[in-house]
């Protein structure tokens, strides 16, 4: 025996160890793969040995090979063997290998559970430590579930080294097994005040990560963190806490105010840049929600950021710019004053910094400085090497100029010439972007058309310059726009014949098909115009010559391979031939030919369709053909922009599929619009979709080295406009001054819009051209999007929030309808829908003067109060999404209701104390008036009572302890006492408040209903199958059952739905049968056995309270009847 061991260790001496392997790989640079494959063979031999030392050595080498990118999953079992060695040395090697190689799908992980549990409880703290470290890398939901308890015990280990690791790994466990959060949370909270700074830091770390996912639940910890922040001296902990506050302040405005003082102190006192930077960040985040700006702290932030940006350290410069962009969102003015600095950063050699600076520029432009900034950017475009950065510049220029409906452009001739200059970029991918801008401007700015047409004609004339290395660059897209503009507005052309000739050149045939098609069609338009001009003359030969030219040139296009080109060309060719015949007979044809293209194209808003009433009897939601298979539509998630544009539906949705299908159709329509020049796009980005030629970057583009910038003869340089514009403005200013003296007095008494910056205020610069602005009404949903539901995955981690029902206010005189955003909502007629549209909040910024007048009239109508109620139940992890907006008279109200038991902050809430429910209500003022003296009152029922302060009568209302300035929301909590939870409850209530306007104040009242369903009294409670079996055997439970017909969804969806909406947890699932469990706040057990066959689902249920059970089952039934 002894001999064997000695022999083993002698053998081992000559095995390769890790160092040998590394050395070998370095010595075999040429045939590395071959060398490694022989090594792997050796390792395989070694793994077959019984000696654990040999195995460990082999696994160690494998770990290294894995890092080099070799698949070693075949050795997973050997890794487990090494992990289970009793020696620390080998155990460590095993766990390291496991942390590198194991992932969720590694099947041997199942075998490790007991081994890990043993290691976790090992007397040697380093065995435990190694196991924790390894587990943190490969924890699976199963492992998390099985080991959660062991790890929780470790959180109170005597050694801080273990406590620290145990606390940190809990985050991973929460992610994989969310149910563990509730029981573990009190202990985690405890660890925030651990004597060991490392453990404390780990706990802060974990809570910060959790709070990042769902800040709302951790608001209650704010005081504790506040204490930590003021007492801690550890910068790492401070940074984390300050970051956490940054996430919390947007939810709780008062917190922001409270934080300002300690944060400013820190900013002044700290020497650590990292801490200072985070403080500044959080102060900025706080101001985001504060309606009252804290000028002092704000100035301090901006001033500190300026110091950062001016620093020679590039890192600080970068971070300074990053933070600036956050300020820009709320206080653009204060960033604008640092324009010089930011423009300077554009010259930086670091691309990260240049890109950040570019982002900032977007928000800094004003009418005054737009030309100057764009001029700077144009210089950069010329200088920039590398197409990616240049393309970035190009898109930024266009973004900056076109933002909010060309708000900042005062001179469109200048803009057109900028666009034309941009077409000279070699090899840009954004030709279509420029093209769409040209079209947009030419169509919408009538005054510019003459100029635009002249420019476009020159472009067409010089098309050969653009198409130098044709097809490869996207710039030829510009010709698409040029041809269309010249054709459509051909009456403005100076020399139409020349343009026509340019459009029919043989070289055109090399352009992409869609551009050729536009060429052909617009050649016809031009032809019509030319005929009209020439027929006035006595000489008819000119007209006939033009016809002849058409007939000569068009056959080229008739032969085109592109169907569209061919079809159009042959139609037009025949037409021209016919015209020629008539001309020869001296018949006047011009009138008739131009009638082909008669009528002016007017810009149409993308949403104009909504204004068109749906004809009676037409159901847009009905299927014309049978719906495609469900799987297809499921994959297709509607894009973000479409979820915002949720249609204003008066009818309830039938199924979810319907909605998706609608989104899909909308997308298709959008796509169509994007390709259609006659539609004004909502944004230029919608065009990107169809460009994107694959692999463009890989084609080598020959750079032509020109010392002189390429100039197309006859094209104006945009620079001269800058000068012209200056002159124009000066002239205007002089005129203004004369008038100003008279007006000044009136102005002061009028609306108090003052601009104190600079000698010339924004308002004073009048645009040289007027844009036809088609304002888009923002559907209300877009604003609610901030509250949109997080993805289901994130939801699972959530603890406290659970919204259970929707209460619509009682509206006796419902003049305006309910608009249901999601599932719920009462059916309404479409006539009412029209009115609702008027009440949608209008985008306040850019409005034509006419609309401004309208707005005044509508001021009353625009007033909206938004009320939302939450009730929380801590343990369940989901939200239902029924929601509705109701406008009653002139007030729009949204109600969301969540119940929460007495102790929302203490997650281990006492279940015996289940007779009290806290309803927290969020009041959101959506009007532009000030709301005050709010009083909340509920009509008590026998079962549920609103708890009122002592001494007040049973019908007194509760004063809401705050006032609401416009656009502000705040939360108030009301406690209810509930006697019995076995029946659902509806409570009627009213909210009274005073609406204060500038000149008047009125008293308003709002009715609402609180709906306490039985489901809302249930708490998701995990239950193990053995406990579950015992419970069923006990025989105390009454049973009941329900059958659901026509449920057409996969079984796991069905289960998820029950879990989601009714707070159950799955105990066990076998094929198409599952047992589920939940518990009420008063401790009733509810057990379900769900079986499915085909479309029938049968639910057998047991509960110790038959009434509660009956109601819960009814609610489940209702959930499924809605879908």
């Amino acid at each position: 025996m002894a001999l064997k061991i000695v022999k083993g260790s002698i053998d081992r001496m000559f095995d390769k160890n890790l160092q040998d392997l590394v050395r070998g790989i370095r010595n075999h640079k040429e045939d590395e793969a071959k060398y490694i494959s022989t090594c792997i063979d050796e390792i395989k031999q070694e793994l077959k040995q019984d000696n654990i030392a040999v195995k460990a050595n082999a696994v160690c080498k494998l770990t290294y090979l894995q890092m080099l990118g070799y698949d070693v999953s075949w050795a997973a079992f050997n890794i487990v063997e090494v992990m289970s060695s009793s020696k620390f040395t080998y155990k460590r090697i095993g766990y390291l290998a496991a942390s590198q190689c194991f992932h969720e799908n590694t099947d041997v992980i199942m075998l490790t559970t007991n081994q890990i549990r043993k290691d976790l409880s090992s007397p040697n703290q380093y065995d435990t430590g190694v196991a924790l470290t390894g587990l943190s890398c490969f924890v699976t939901p199963d492992l998390a579930r099985d080991l959660a308890n062991d790890i929780m015990t470790l959180m109170s280990h005597t050694k801080p080294y273990i406590r620290k690791k145990a606390v940190l790994i809990m985050y991973k466990v929460f992610l994989k097994y969310p149910e563990s959060l509730r029981p573990a949370f009190p202990r985690l909270k405890e660890k925030l005040e651990d004597p060991d700074p490392g453990v404390q830091s780990a706990a802060v770390n974990v809570i910060c990560e959790l709070a990042r996912r769902n800040p709302k639940n951790y608001l209650s910890l704010a005081p504790l963190f506040f204490k930590l922040m003021t007492s801690s001296t550890n910068n790492w902990v401070l940074i984390k806490i300050i970051k956490l506050f940054g996430a919390l302040t947007p939810l709780e405005p008062r917190l922001g105010k409270k934080l300002i003082e300690p944060l400013t102190n820190l900013i002044h006192s700290t020497s650590a840049m990292s801490l200072l930077y985070e403080c500044v960040n959080t102060v900025i985040a706080g101001q985001y929600s504060c309606s009252v700006g804290h000028i002092k702290s704000h100035l301090l932030c901006v001033q500190k950021l300026r110091i950062l940006i001016e620093d020679s350290d590039q890192n600080l410069k970068y971070l300074g710019l990053l933070a600036m962009s956050k300020i820009l969102k709320t206080h653009p003015k204060s960033v604008q004053s640092h324009k010089d600095l930011i423009l300077q950063c554009l010259d930086d050699k670091d691309e990260s910094i240049r890109l950040r600076a570019l982002d900032l520029l977007y928000g800094m432009v004003s009418k005054k400085n737009l030309m100057e900034i764009v001029k700077k950017l144009m210089i950069h475009v010329d200088k920039a090497e590398g197409t990616t950065y240049r393309d970035e510049l190009l898109t930024k220029i266009i973004d900056i100029c076109s933002q909010s409906n060309y708000q900042y452009i005062t001179n469109f001739e200048w803009y057109i010439s900028i666009l034309v200059e941009l077409t000279r970029l070699e090899g840009t991918r954004h030709g279509h972007l420029i093209a769409s801008q040209m079209l947009d401007v030419a169509i919408r700015v009538k005054a510019i058309r003459v100029f635009a047409v002249a420019q476009m004609a020159t472009l067409l004339d010089n098309a050969h310059l653009l198409t130098g290395n044709m097809q490869r660059n996207g710039i030829c897209e510009v010709l698409y726009a040029a041809a269309w503009i010249c054709g459509e507005f051909s009456e403005h052309l100076e020399n139409p014949v020349q343009t026509l000739e340019a459009m029919l050149r043989p070289k055109v045939a090399t352009l992409p098909g869609h551009i050729q098609a536009v060429y052909v069609q617009n050649a016809a338009k031009l032809f019509a115009t030319i005929l009209k001009n020439q027929e006035g003359n006595t000489d008819s030969t000119a007209a006939q010559e033009t016809s002849q030219m058409m007939i000569d040139r068009l056959p080229l296009f008739v032969q085109s391979a592109n169907l569209e080109v061919q079809e159009r060309a042959s139609c037009i060719l025949q037409l021209v031939k016919y015209i020629q015949k008539l001309q020869q007979k001296d018949v006047e044809v011009a009138e008739e030919v131009s009638a082909l293209f008669a009528g002016e194209l007017n810009p149409v808003a993308p949403k104009a369709q909504k204004k068109v009433p749906v004809p009676e009897g037409l159901d847009l939601d009905a299927w014309i053909n049978e719906p495609p298979s469900e799987s297809e539509s499921e994959d297709e998630q509607p894009k973000a922009i479409f979820t915002k544009e949720e249609p204003k539906h008066s009818r309830p949705r039938h199924t979810e599929v319907d909605e998706k299908e609608l989104a899909r159709r909308r997308e298709a329509r959008k796509q169509e619009q994007a390709n259609n020049p006659f539609y004004i796009k909502a944004s230029p980005s919608s065009q990107k979709v169809y460009q994107e030629a694959p692999g463009v970057e890989h084609i080598p583009v020959v750079q032509i080295d020109l010392s002189v910038p390429l100039k197309v003869p006859g094209l104006p340089m945009s620079d001269q406009y800058v000068k012209l514009e200056e002159e124009r403005r000066q002239k205007e200013r002089a005129e203004k001054k004369k008038k100003e003296k008279k007006k000044r007095k009136e102005k002061r008494s009028g609306r108090g819009k003052k601009h104190d910056s600079g000698p010339e205020s924004e308002e004073d610069i009048t645009p040289a051209h007027v844009v036809d602005i088609v304002t888009e009404e923002m559907p209300e949903v877009a604003q609610e999007d901030q509250n949109r539901l997080p993805s289901p995955y994130l939801c699972r981690v959530k603890v406290c929030i659970c919204m259970f029902c929707l209460c619509r206010p009682l509206a006796d005189s419902e003049k305006l309808p309910v608009r249901s955003h999601r599932a719920a909502g009462a059916p309404k007629s479409s006539a009412e829908d029209g009115e609702a549209e008027n009440a949608t909040p209008q985008e306040p910024k850019k409005k034509s003067s006419k609309e401004k007048r309208d707005k005044k009239k509508d001021k009353e109508r625009d007033r909206k109060v938004r009320l939302r109620c939450w009730k929380h139940f801590p343990p369940s992890g989901h939200k239902s999404d029924s929601r509705s907006t109701q406008s009653e008279g002139r007030t729009v109200v949204t109600f969301l209701v969540f119940p929460l038991p007495r102790k929302v902050c203490d997650i281990q809430g006492n279940l015996q104390d289940g007779s009290q429910v806290v309803v927290s209500v969020i009041f959101e003022n959506k009007s532009d008036s000030f709301l005050k003296s709010m009083e909340f009152n509920v009509l008590d029922s026998l079962n549920s009572k609103l708890q009122r302060p002592e001494g007040s009568g049973p019908h007194d209302g509760l004063t809401v302890p705050f006032q609401l300035p416009p656009g502000v929301s705040n939360e108030a909590r009301f406690v209810f006492t509930v006697q019995s939870i076995v029946m659902p409850q509806k409570l009627k209530g009213t909210l009274t408040f005073i609406v204060k306007n500038e000149d008047s104040s009125t008293h308003e009242k709002l009715d609402f209903k609180l709906h306490f369903t039985c489901t809302s009294y249930l708490i998701t409670t995990p239950c193990y199958s053995d406990a579950f079996a015992k419970l069923l055997e006990s025989g105390d439970l009454k049973s009941s059952s329900v059958r659901l017909e026509g449920v057409n969804m996969p079984f796991h969806h069905l289960l998820a739905r029950i879990c989601f909406h009714h707070h159950f947890s799955v105990v066990e699932r076998i094929d198409s049968c599952a047992s589920m469990y939940s518990r009420s706040i008063q401790g009733h057990h509810v057990c379900l056995l769900v079986k499915t066959s085909g479309q029938t689902v049968s639910i057998d249920a047991k509960c110790d309270e038959p009434t509660l059970l009956g109601n819960v089952l009814d609610e489940i039934k209702q959930t499924f009847s809605q879908c």
Binding site: L18, G69, G198, T233, W236, Q314, N315
Partner: protein
């Protein structure tokens, strides 16, 4: 020169901190993905000058715009961390410094080859700094102390039976080429005011 494992470890570990797998595509195995991340990261980082900032905005490969690459450059080595927005950028730069200084202490004047030949040890040290993608410990003395205790345990366990193996490996190591030691930790051109330790 970059250490593939090292670079990989950080980017991989951190981008998977939250259990998401934003960057893993189905048709690539984990190893292919890992190599691709390393290659691209190295490509991005290595072409940057020394006097530019140490942050790189996240591409799609490392998990989207919420992620940043934060790196430090020491002589021939790049230490790259991939972090999300919950970490302080300057804090992570400090953490890299802590990590490298710890390596220096544990290897006694660390050099590039130490790291190459003792990948396992580097990992053990890193595991005391970052665990499962979360910052575990930032105090260098604490880290060094824990690493040393564990190394002592390993030695005592090895005892007699490991002695011959150690002797052989010592003989093998004699052939190591003479290499410039020291990767000049003091000589860094990034100045970040250090965070105070625990």
């Amino acid at each position: 020169m970059v250490l593939p494992g090292e670079l990989f470890y950080h980017s991989y570990q951190n981008s998977f901190k939250n259990g998401g797998c934003a960057s893993v595509t189905a048709d690539l195995s984990a190893e292919d993905m890992q190599q691709q991340i390393i290659r691209e990261t190295f490509h991005l980082v290595s072409k940057r000058d020394d006097n530019v900032c140490n942050f790189l905005e996240g591409g799609s490969l490392i998990g989207g715009s919420d992620y940043k690459l934060i790196y430090r450059h020491y002589a021939t080595l790049y230490f790259v961390f991939c972090v999300d927005s919950s970490e302080s950028e300057l804090g992570i730069l400090d953490l890299i410094q802590v990590f490298v200084e710890t390596l220096d202490k544990c290897f006694e004047n660390v050099c590039e080859l130490d790291l190459i030949f003792h990948m396992d040890k580097v990992h053990y040290i890193l595991q005391e700094v970052v665990m499962g993608g979360m910052v575990l410990e930032t105090n260098m003395n604490e880290i060094v102390a824990q690493v040393e205790v564990q190394n002592r345990m390993e030695k005592s366990e090895g005892g007699l039976s490991a002695a011959p193996a150690r002797a052989v490996s010592a003989v093998k190591n004699m052939n190591l080429p003479e290499i410039p030691r020291n990767i000049n930790i003091g000589d860094i051109n990034i100045k970040v005011p250090s965070l105070s330790p625990f």
